[in-house]
């Protein structure tokens, strides 16, 4: 393991910053919050002072959304967001608040909540409960909580699908993440449907852990590293069996590929290229002629695509939109690329609620203006934010694809024999 904190050399190439200041223009937080010093000052500028003495750490860094839009904007490839994330982990609050631990431990909370899902869902929706959570844990009462499913995706998969998947000649490993597992198993089911139709069997990792994106954001680096190690060893097994690993969440994908190395300092170069977003995996197969898709003739949809921050960072939004545009009945409108404001668990925290909504406001207004019923996006937390703040329903492109394909015809096109 590379131990950045032990040496005085910043691993994140801040020396290459030419002070062009473009990053500050693309920072969604800076636009609404003057207390945030901005990506340039928090990142490369501040890093020089923190190397001089850690007490130069600025408390304003807590406002960084870790959206990485600064990194996308940077013409010199400086890992601005990574520098800030590491500085937060190193200098920020040492003992995290109970609330932050609860919000960050999506795995643990999800496991408990799914068991008693109806109770949790009803309770979390009650106004008095929201008030109490606001007062005791500083989770904003105006926030709508994602619903928990009563049956986890993994439980459904093992009960109903695990055996049949083995029959497929080609296999792919699915990193479902916490959201598909605890909150919205339908997304996982949709992916299985699509992949099966094109001749791929789905496998799950043994004891998949949360990717760690929320823990990293809350500075729980130790916990995140433990989970990451476990995931990496499982990912290596999958790759050794010749499988690619696909995820339906852009943030999970991004974390597995980039944050493990850049922020947690874990070597992942051997598996990084095998981790892909499901839409990218499918698009590339279609593009190479390896698979073909057939769509329902009666499918009609008018949808707007929202580029989540981490998909911008991956540069992979094009795979999702290209795939959606293959659907004959689809009218796809591109929304301007901007942060929706939720930034994972950030927007749940009481002190951030107003910033969160102010950041997303132009996006919400645009969605309402367009009058679209469906917004497509690759990120689950964007989904919560947009559904709470607009009248639109938000779907992952994989779910739209699952609805749009003609399964029988697709199977025929790909010579998938009846099992």
């Amino acid at each position: 393991m590379k131990k950045y904190e032990d040496s005085n050399v910043s691993a994140n190439n801040f020396d290459q910053c030419t002070k062009c200041t473009i990053c500050t223009v693309y920072c969604p937080m800076l636009e609404v919050n003057p207390l945030y010093p901005g990506p340039k000052q928090s990142g490369p500028d501040g890093e020089r002072y923190r190397l001089k003495e850690p007490k130069y750490y600025d408390m304003g860094l807590k406002y960084c959304l870790n959206c990485k839009r600064c990194e996308v904007a940077c013409p010199s490839g400086v890992r601005i967001g990574d520098i800030i994330a590491l500085a937060k982990a190193k200098n920020g609050r040492k003992v995290p608040k109970l609330r932050d631990v609860m919000l960050a431990n999506t795995d643990f909370v999800g496991s408990v909540a799914t068991v008693v899902a109806p109770v949790v869902n009803t309770t979390l929706g009650l106004r008095p409960v929201k008030r109490v959570m606001d007062a005791t844990m500083a989770i904003d009462h105006r926030r709508t909580f994602p619903k928990y499913a009563s049956e986890k995706f993994t439980t459904w998969f093992r009960r109903n699908m695990a055996e049949s998947q083995k029959e497929f000649a080609k296999q792919v490993c699915y990193f479902h993440g916490c959201y598909a597992n605890y909150n919205y198993p339908q997304l996982g089911k949709d992916l299985v449907k699509v992949l099966n139709a094109v001749g791929y069997g789905v496998r799950l990792m043994e004891g998949e852990r949360c990717c760690g994106v929320a823990k990293i954001a809350s500075g729980l680096i130790g916990d995140a590293t433990r989970d990451a190690r476990r995931n990496l060893s499982e990912m290596r097994k999958a790759v050794a069996e010749g499988m690619e690993i696909v995820a339906t969440s852009s943030s999970c994908t991004f974390t597995l590929r980039d944050e493990y190395d850049h922020v947690l300092g874990l070597e992942n170069g051997d598996v990084r290229d095998s981790v892909s977003l499901a839409t990218r995996f499918l698009f590339r197969l279609v593009e190479s002629g390896e698979i073909r898709l057939a769509f329902r003739e009666d499918f009609r949809m008018r949808a707007a695509y929202h580029s989540a921050c981490h998909i911008e960072k991956l540069g992979w939004g094009i795979y999702s939109t290209s795939l959606l545009k293959m659907i004959p009945g689809m009218e796809l409108i591109m929304l301007p690329s901007q942060c929706c404001g939720i930034a994972g668990t950030f927007g749940f925290k009481k002190e951030n609620y107003d910033y969160s909504q102010a950041i997303g406001r132009p996006l919400f207004d645009r969605i309402e203006e367009l009058g679209v019923e469906i917004v497509a996006t690759d990120c689950e937390t964007c989904k919560w934010q947009i559904e709470m703040s607009t009248s639109a329903k938000v779907l992952n492109p994989i779910s739209i694809l699952a609805e749009a394909i003609d399964v029988e015809k697709t199977r025929e096109l790909n010579n998938v024999i009846d099992l």
Binding site: D6, S7, N8, V9, S10, F14, D15, Q16, C17, T18, K19, C20, T21, P34, P37, K40, Q41, P44, D45, G46, E47, R48, Y49, L51, K52, K55, Y56, Y57, D58, M59, G60, S76
Partner: protein, 548 residues
């Protein structure tokens, strides 16, 4: 102006480096009527062009025990009286496989004789103490080295001199010395900003002009045989090391790596130069090569770290023999009473020495001046803290309070110590950053203009750290010019200054203009030339003068 300075002073001190500023302070503290004159800005000579190393004296222990003993004594004094200028980093003297390990015991023994605490430590312990150190080291000695900011140190001395009644004039050049028979009775000064001349009288004139002191002596008709020896250094983009790293061997080129504020410095070279080159010396490609090659042996990451700039200074060594390198000449203090030496009354010279011993030099020459004037007040500079180091800054009494300060306030408190109490951050404009790399705010610049004799952009750089950071003035120059103009400095002058500030920064970048430094310089050029049209300024002036 002339009327103001027609009165007579007890002492006029020529030279606004550490020695001159220290002397002005010492004289003022002893109740003398003092005038300090400097032809450029304070700390522009050798004072501002060295390592900023708070020597433990260990470097001189083997070759010059006397200098070593002076260093360690002054080192301990500066830690007390100049707290806000000093960083107590510790220092390492490392032995590499190519060095002779047996030198270590001689080194430690010599240190002990000079009173320097020198402790051999396990190389692994050295690596733990300073992770950037060359991991192949075979020996390490820990000594009480540190870092000292020469600009801040001089500024604090000048400020304290003024607070005790001294008058100071920067940008005033000594044109001649006023002489009556065998006595120097004052100086003729030219105000370099207005071109006016004036005569100022004093009972004693102190020549503290560093290497330029030879010229001042010539004006007095006495001969000082000085040895200009150039030393060049490289500034790196950020701190590589937190502990000073030296080579444990006979002093040679590029064997000290000092962490200074936000950066690290490798140096120096030593090259004798003719007197004509003192004012226009340049860092040569050969020097850059040797600094990088030898520097990377101290800390391998040097080889891949961004270089900000190169600079050189000229050591004011007083010649004793014909040593071609100028290195084995004693670095000892030379305090000359020209009455004794040359039969010329009212004129004394203080030279030699080094930044570390500036206070002691000031003490010696002030003692001499007092003897001449029949004043019997003793020296208190070894125990009286400088302004900035007198107290804990009231807005940052604890680490927790410091962390909660805004970015610009942190910068101000870090640089000005308790004097930061005088810097008001009343509104968001005060707190707005001018120099983002070095966290310099509008309020801090205003304080420097109003309280620290800064009249030009380059002065603001030395009083704060404006333009010293990664972008070398690219972002901040125009903003700072605006702040300067707001504070009653003529705006066309300010534009000229912005142009010359950038030009001066480029001079430092040029010897290392490759990689990131070149990208930055190119960007700066596009911006100021292409967008702001700053080079048009020269063209307009040329046209105007042709029309006339």
């Amino acid at each position: 102006m002339a009327a103001k300075f027609s009165k007579e002073y007890d002492v006029i001190i020529i030279g606004g480096g550490a020695t001159g500023a220290g002397t002005a302070r010492d004289c003022a503290l002893r109740g003398l009527k003092v005038l300090l004159v400097e032809r450029k800005d304070f700390a522009t000579g050798a004072t501002g062009r060295n390592h900023g190393l708070l020597h433990s004296g260990a470097r001189y222990a083997v070759t010059d025990g006397e200098s070593a003993a002076e260093c360690i004594a002054e080192n301990m004094i500066l830690r007390r009286v100049a707290r806000h200028c000093v960083e107590e980093t510790e220092g390492l003297f490392i032995t590499l496989p190519e060095d002779d390990l047996s030198y270590q015991s001689l080194f430690i023994e010599s240190c002990r004789r000079a009173g320097i605490k020198a402790e051999a430590i396990d190389p692994r312990e050295a690596l733990r103490l300073e992770p950037s150190v060359n991991p192949t080291l075979i020996g390490a000695v820990k000594v009480p080295d540190g870092a000292v900011d020469p600009f801040r140190l001089v500024s604090a001395n000048v400020l304290d001199a003024r607070l005790h009644g001294a008058e100071v004039l920067n940008y005033h050049q000594v044109e001649s010395l006023l002489r009556e028979q065998d006595r120097i009775v004052g100086v003729e000064l030219r105000n370099l900003t207005t071109g006016e001349s004036m005569q100022v009288r004093s009972r004693v004139v102190v020549n503290a002009a560093g290497i330029w002191g030879a010229k001042i002596a010539e004006l007095a008709g006495v001969k000082l045989n000085m040895f200009p020896a150039k030393g060049s250094l490289l500034v790196f983009g950020h701190r590589i090391n937190n502990v000073v790293i030296n080579r444990c061997r006979k002093p040679a080129d590029a064997d000290i790596l000092v962490p200074g504020d936000t950066i690290s410095l490798i140096g120096t070279t030593s090259l004798r130069i003719p007197f004509e080159e003192v004012d226009k010396n340049v860092v040569t490609p050969e020097e850059v090569d040797v600094l990088l090659r030898e520097g990377a042996k101290l800390a391998p990451t040097l080889a891949t770290t961004r270089i900000l700039r190169a600079y050189s200074g000229v050591r004011p060594l007083v010649a004793a023999d014909n040593d071609p390198s100028g290195r084995s000449i004693s670095r000892g203090i030379v305090c000359l009473d020209h009455a004794e030496r040359d039969g010329l009354e009212g004129f004394v010279t203080i030279t030699g020495g080094k930044l570390m011993t500036y206070r002691l030099m000031a003490e010696w020459v002030t003692d001499l001046v007092c003897r001449k004037l029949g004043v019997s007040v003793g020296c208190t500079t070894a125990s009286t803290p400088l302004p900035g180091s007198k107290d804990v800054p009231s807005r940052a009494k604890s680490r927790k309070e410091f962390i909660s300060l805004g970015v610009g306030e942190k910068g101000a408190v870090g640089r000005h110590g308790d004097k930061a109490d005088e810097i008001g951050f009343a509104n968001s404009r005060d707190a707005a950053l001018v120099c983002e790399c070095e966290q310099v705010s509008v309020a801090e610049l205003r304080y420097a203009i109003q309280s620290l004799n800064a009249t030009k952009l380059v002065d603001l750089r030395r009083r704060t750290r404006l333009g010293m950071g990664t972008c070398q003035g690219h972002i901040c120059v125009m903003r700072a010019a605006g702040v300067l103009a707001e504070n009653n400095v003529n705006s066309t002058d300010v534009l000229d200054e912005a142009a010359s500030f950038i030009q001066e920064r480029w001079r430092g970048v040029k010897p290392v203009a490759w990689g990131d430094a070149l990208v930055e310089a190119q960007f700066t050029q596009w911006f100021y030339d292409g967008v702001c049209g700053l080079s048009e300024l020269d063209r307009q002036k040329t046209n105007q003068s042709e029309e006339k």
